[in-house]
Symmetry: C2
Subunit: 262 residues, 2 copies
């Protein structure tokens, strides 16, 4: 799609999946091989970048919590600028671009500048972690729904609906699973907020670090135990918290297989 | 992993993604190429099966709503039996094995028989549909969480927590997205159940058929409108319903790009 008489490129917002290169989609791989420039963050591994067109320019805009290399607005502008000088711009994001990846904002900014955007979905962290840990996010008779929330704060507060989240985890409401992205730093606040809404913190949970990679680590226990131990346990990798009966011991045992090898 | 003195194979529960072959993961492709036998259902396309080892035996256990070719218990037993005569058993499932795929049950049954199981995550339908339709499932200031539920019935009733789901969709609770898998047949019941809990059915929604494939179709409108029109509109393909402000017109316009081409 060309706008006015100036040729512009296409911006591809590409989900890189949970970490292992072999959890890229074929479409993502093909775009990496064709890319003229790749804009990536810290959740994208070297193993994945090694698959890209060696001639492609690489721009690191790595984001950590409260330590953004480049503010979101500048990333948006960068993508627009790059599309004016490169045919194939790949914006590579950990997981899926539309699950806590701010892909919607980047897509809007690029589209607003009259540049074509394509979104390539990816295996989001919750799916990668669940598969490798052997935790079915939905399970007949145990979890009839799953909710993804983020442990990031907004204006200093956890950005979750505590009453709704607590309700979904309470026995008697039919069973549900909650996956909390990037939730280690705020786990004590999350647990306290849920307890204040009446949730019994003996609910089963699993904390998974570097999920979906060969270096995946797991901590299982009650939500209360995990909230108390998480800070000492983590070694700083990206982490996902899964809360709900699907993480309970009897299922975990049956599913230990999956943690063995990938 | 070998149990007793009899060699057994490994059962791989593999997510095939939303439909297009290029949304397979590299790991899924490699397993298909190596498979000795492939057990698949109707959500897995011919385009994907064409990538498999041509010498692999194929077993169709296709499931439709209320028209199971093979009951779940027999699929479980089949997987166990196949692992006693095949080194690499691939159970190929549409989307992700642990999102409404009954993968947890199959994994438990196979593990209980002493057979190794590996889970390969896939791009679940909600992510595939959202990417192609340009609908960010989470979006700053609009949707801070996303919930996946199923439109399937259990004992004749929709298996959802209506009060909780209605709450999550109400303005004032911070914004949320709900994705309903396989929800066309039960949309009127879903809408009525949510309305009974106080949800205003003018909430924006998008109905996506054959999402994540080149034949994707979309219907947008309020939840009330879609519930009234869905039966006449559908041509019977697998469908996903997305409810929430992220499907609203102003975002849809900005994101129309994505519906153009894949």
């Amino acid at each position: 799609m060309h706008h006015s008489t100036i040729l512009t490129g296409i911006v591809h917002l590409v989900g890189a999946g949970p970490g292992s290169a072999d959890l890229l989609t074929l479409r993502a791989l093909r775009l990496l091989e064709r890319a003229d420039v790749i804009v990536h963050d810290r959740l994208v591994s070297e193993e994945i970048l090694a698959l890209a067109n060696p001639a492609a320019e690489r721009i690191y805009v790595g984001k950590r919590r409260s330590e953004h290399c480049l503010p979101q607005e500048q990333i948006n502008e960068l993508l627009v600028r790059l599309a004016h000088s490169h045919a194939c711009v790949v914006r590579l994001k950990g997981g899926d671009p539309f699950i806590f990846g701010r892909g919607g904002e980047e897509a809007e900014a690029v589209a607003a500048a009259g540049i074509e955007v394509q979104i390539v979905p990816g295996v989001t962290a919750a799916l990668g972690c669940a598969a490798q840990a052997g935790i079915p996010l939905t399970h007949r008779g145990i979890a009839r729904s799953v909710t993804f929330v983020t442990g990031h704060t907004k204006d200093g507060q956890l950005d979750v609906d505590f009453p709704g989240l607590a309700r979904s985890l309470m026995v008697g409401h039919g069973g549900s699973t909650v996956a909390v992205y990037m939730g280690i730093a705020t786990m004590p606040a999350l647990a306290a907020g849920l307890a204040a809404e009446g949730l019994d913190l003996s609910v089963s949970a699993a904390l998974i670090e570097r999920g979906g990679t060969p270096r995946q680590r797991e901590l299982r226990g009650s939500l209360g135990e995990l909230a108390a131990r998480a800070q000492a346990w983590t070694d700083g990798g990206p982490a996902l918290l899964i809360i709900g009966e699907v993480t309970a011991a009897h299922l975990a045992r049956a599913h230990q297989f999956a943690a063995v090898a990938v």
